[in-house]
Point group: C2
Chain length 457, copies 2
């Protein structure tokens, strides 16, 4: 007799949704959490705190408070307000999650879990006390943490990772961001909007290298307007702490002095402490490999979320958790949806669903591109977003959408309209015939669809 | 031989889209405009200016600038900035519209048009010069203006209508709004957010009487938070200008002294000067009656937009213009879409598509209601909108959506996701299965859909 039907390790977005799904299916479920707080990186150190800070920075940039002309003191004020707001949001969300877990009858067990065998975990709490728990199904959702190479002198004050930067008490005057991916771009946006002098070092020739240049161009323009200095095709050779700030040496020989450095070059899975070999699971370069049902090499042990790699988004992790649990308890019909939205909460936001244009080219698809610009819409002008873009990638034969990309304010919200259109196999003609509220940014869907019509053979 | 294939009277949203449709079909089209500017009330005196002002007021309310604690001087600053921004948006939009008209080959003829006979218009310009123009098809899109009863002492300074209030040079300290409809609610929001003491007199027992109380309650809460005083089930007996401000007498005997009054009790069609009887068209209580193809009693004379009454929205007018012209030139397959979105740009916004709950009750439909609250979503908390609501009205048998109502920030944008779902006859299960970006307000669709599932038999 096992203790539980399912043990879930990690209370982040993937673990929570796995637990709710199990409870919904009438299963006895428990979540094991090693931190003294619930929600994982999604709530505590990653997604939510950075988005709360972003909202404050965004508002500051809209109302001029955050601009470079503001005094450093005034910018500190904005930052302090933002941190308070962030802490409030985290507390409220913790309360919402906890309530839902308790209502569902999911147990919450504090401690760090390690495999004893393929059905048994040893859970050790903060006081060192440990107990063994067994379950039919075990789901790993332990997430990831910032990658911290040993030669980078992280100190939580001047040399930062994406977790420690969220706990800064004072705003640096200058910040060098190492990396050009999602997390890097989000923090560049936040600190530049708060009036910090930001520079970026990235080895690619473009930020967010997998996206096409027209989409990334909207972000690059925004960065330029905020005075961000880009150093592309450059690599960091060394980072050294100095009396006042940090010295960063680049491969090209450039030396950069800044008050702080954010090292944002990828994340590392939280897998080692699980002792997966005791369950017969070998790590794949540190990560856990799974099949399309999220089963590891041991069929009743599932892994979801950041722990299995890309896209490593909270939204996707939630769905993976739900899908994995449904599969584990016999609902085999439930698969992951085909169209998952992706979002980058930079200033402005970037969001997309379906294929990127680079993928369409790689797969030699026959397509046309239609664009609707925010500045052509009255609302784009009202909110002062002159760079925003809705881009449709449309199949030349079927006129169906292959992908939708939005770069501009509210992109993360607007994308769902295109996503539902793709879900129903709609065409560009459905968008042309649709009546949109006036004035809205969503009208850009219609403008982009009309642009497609002109180009379709 | 007629001068034009189609003559369009009025260059507002309905007229513009009619003209583009005609040009698209290869027809020789002209727009006749009596004002020295294009765009009609949609651009010049109504939709766009009020939305531009709303955006400034909204931002002020988010960042605390507009709050009651601010000095009157500071609030004037916000108002002045808003007016400048508004004028810029209008100029930019004029340029966009003009460019599209010229590119399409549509002629723009200045002057006031009146029927001579059913194919001929006499167009009189500002200098009194007139000429006659004839066309196969005539489309009336002359719009509407605020209703101004003769016993209300309008003066453009203290006793205002919804056009003159947009030209105010200084912010009043107190404002009484007469009316509880869309336009009234939008101006209540704007001036309350700017820190003006606003009171409202309306004869109904609820603002926006055709909407259900849960939806309107979100707005009422926002008004309460901004200190707005509501006087419901009250009628105005008289409005009198005084040395300092305005005295308003109510049926109940109450006397209200305010610095300014906005009278927002409906709009009047711009139909009289058309001399429609010369074309054999009698007005219906001032309005023009049309069939579902937007034909008047004379088949080749069409009327669209505000001139034909509800919903009198720019978005709907555009589509009516397009549909009418398509019909006039033989594309009879093109009908108005079944699901038109409605939007009220108050603070917060309200938007809906499909039926209201009151309609569902009246039609004795079998339905359940599901609600997703902004405060349950992380983004709702991040942006500090704790009252927002996504409400789904779902058919008990088919699980299809009968209506979607959103009251909260960005409602006018978010509604299109529900609208497309309805367009494709989707069910509440499509929303449950959909993965939404995290954190977004759009997640409330999923929360509302899950709420429905609990209630469906």
């Amino acid at each position: 007799m096992m203790d539980y039907d399912i043990l879930i390790i990690g209370s982040g977005p993937a673990g929570q949704h796995a637990a709710w799904q199990a409870a919904h299916m009438g299963k006895k479920a428990a979540i094991i959490e090693r931190k003294p707080s619930i929600g994982g990186a999604g709530l505590q150190t990653g997604t939510i705190p950075s988005k709360a800070l972003r909202e404050a920075a965004y508002l500051a940039s809209r109302t001029g408070q955050g601009m470079r002309e503001a005094t450093h003191h005034a910018r500190h004020g904005v930052m302090a307000d933002a941190v308070r707001r962030k802490d409030m949001v985290i507390a409220q969300q913790e309360s919402v999650i906890l309530k839902r877990l308790l209502k569902s009858g999911v147990a919450l067990i504090p401690g760090e879990a390690a495999f004893v065998d393929e059905h048994t975990l040893e859970v050790t709490d903060n006081n060192g006390a440990s107990r063994r728990l067994s379950a039919e199904v075990i789901l790993l959702a332990t997430g990831s943490r910032p990658r911290r190479p040993s030669d980078i002198p992280f100190d939580k004050e001047t040399v930062l990772d994406s977790t420690s930067i969220l706990k800064l008490k004072k705003l640096p005057r200058s910040l060098l961001v190492v990396g050009g991916g999602v997390i890097a771009c989000e923090f560049v946006s936040i600190f530049a909007a708060l009036g910090v002098e930001v520079s970026v070092v990235d080895s690619h020739d473009q930020l967010l290298a997998y996206l096409s240049d027209d989409v990334v161009g909207v972000l690059a323009d925004s960065f330029e307007n905020m005075g961000v200095q880009l150093h592309m095709k450059e690599r960091v050779v060394a980072i050294r702490k100095e009396d006042a700030g940090v010295l960063t040496l680049l491969e090209s020989g450039k030396k950069m002095h800044t008050e702080a450095v954010l090292y944002a070059m990828g994340r590392t899975p939280n897998a080692l402490s699980l002792h997966t070999p005791n369950a017969g699971i070998e790590l794949d370069n540190g990560w856990i490999s799974v099949n399309k049902h999220f089963q590891s090499s041991v069929p009743h042990i599932y892994a979801v979320g950041d722990l299995i790699g890309r896209p490593a988004l909270a939204s996707t992790g939630m769905e993976q958790g739900r899908t994995a649990v449904a599969h584990a308890f016999g609902e085999t019909s439930q698969a992951m949806p085909a169209n998952l939205p992706m979002a980058i909460y930079a200033i402005p936001e970037i969001s997309w669903v379906g294929k990127t244009e680079k993928e369409a080219i790689r797969e030699k698809l026959s397509y046309v591109v239609g664009r609707g610009f925010y500045k052509e819409s009255a609302r784009g002008q009202i909110i002062g977003d002159s760079n925003g873009l809705v881009k449709l990638i449309v199949d030349t034969q079927t006129h169906k959408l292959i992908g939708v990309h939005i770069a501009g304010e509210h992109a993360s919200e607007l994308i769902h309209t295109g996503q539902l259109l793709m879900h129903f196999n709609g065409t560009v003609h459905d968008l042309v015939a649709n009546v949109f509220n006036y004035p809205t940014l969503a009208e850009c869907y219609k403008l982009a669809a009309l642009d497609c019509l002109h180009k379709l053979p």
